[in-house]
Symmetry: C2
Subunit: 202 residues, 2 copies
DNA sequence: CAATAAATACCGACTAGTTGGTATTTTTAA
DNA sequence: TTAAAAATACCAACTAGTCGGTATTTATTG
């Protein structure tokens, strides 16, 4: 695949994601995507097998970008402290800060968006979504295990559920941000989660 | 409007909600709704001005049912304790129990589902969605204010954000439940919120 | 109490436009 | 010159919505 093609594909993917996050997957037509991406039908179907293939590639791209962001933020956090709890708390702060810096309203999470119309997809795509959420769970769970190893928690908690609470607060915040058109909701809900961890372990 | 008509409308609304929660709003065609609801095109358009009118009426119905459920649960909770914190904690437990009793996977929240494709709706519908989330916020906020009036919180928190955390945990739990096909996620995320309140105020 | 008028509830064929997708041709760059 | 990349033209199925008409209630009145 030449550079020309990879540019085109990325342009299609970026355009499609933007529209789909606004209107939903079914609410977005290929015609609109190719129009905004400045390509034609033939071009689109050269690069993608069909609309479902587009969804698949969008999720893969989204999860990749996401893994990179979280990796970077944890790398920063790990350099700022040696304490597992502090590292996690710093990560949450960095994540919240990154969102706070956005100028426009956060477009939302592709994983959540597609989940709410997932009955029209095949199992492969639902599995990709599941894998994404599982990866977030595992990422936080590993950190929580390190925290729990050296500190008792004030109340008995299942660490997996506590790890899922990260996804819960992020997705909940994204929803509120979208509904009220204000990114600060993402920040506050993430910081609620941070406070929860402090109350449990500090 | 005779009884015959009100039955028909309710049948259409219930059918439509079910399909829309599975496939999304755009992913659901009127043809499929009328097919499953055993009515015809003409019948549908006699009762609804169009597809957007259907969405409007679905949200109104959803928020009504929801207000009734929360009202009932708080009434129960208020009878079981005089303490504001306990009342709120009991409410959360009752809500979680109600969901745990469901046999099938919870179909999800219409408000969240429509939010993820809200760009295709007019402002009226977005406002209805906003009003719904605001009503949840106010409902919990009033309780939190009563709690805060008689107890200091362990850490400084904005009560509005803490009230929104109820929506966050509910919606986050619903999302996890759908992705992993397991209602227990709703329960655990609600109980995480409950734990958070206990850690803050108990 | 009937006969009838009028409103309500519903039907199903139809249309104009949109949808995802294909087959064929042209352009581009190595 | 040739293979990849993109454009053009097209199609069949589906879409939301319309329309003329019919069945069923409900209201009116002689």
């Amino acid at each position: 695949m030449g550079k020309r093609a990879s540019n085109t594909q990325e342009r299609i993917l970026a355009t499609a994601e933007q529209i789909i996050l606004c209107k939903g997957f079914s609410g977005t037509s290929i015609d609109e995507i190719i129009d905004k991406a400045a390509i034609t039908k033939g071009g689109f179907f050269y690069h993608f097998e069909g609309k479902v293939d587009l969804a698949r590639r969008l999720i893969l791209r989204y999860l990749e970008q996401d893994a990179k962001l979280f990796g970077d933020l944890f790398e920063q956090a790990d350099q700022l402290s040696e304490d597992p709890l502090q590292q996690l708390l710093i990560f949450l702060k960095l994540f919240a800060n990154a969102i706070e810096r956005l100028e426009e309203t956060h477009p939302g999470c592709l994983v959540a968006g597609l989940t709410y119309e997932n009955q029209q997809f095949d199992e492969e795509i639902r599995e990709l979504i599941r894998a994404g959420v599982t990866s977030w769970r595992e990422l936080i769970l590993r950190r929580l295990e390190a925290v729990a190893k050296q500190r008792p928690s004030k109340l008995a908690v299942e660490l997996t559920e506590l790890a899922d609470m990260f996804t819960t607060c992020t997705e909940g915040g994204l929803l509120l941000a979208r509904i009220f058109n204000d990114n600060r909701h993402i920040v506050t809900q993430l910081l609620n989660y941070r406070t929860h961890l402090r109350l449990l372990f500090e």
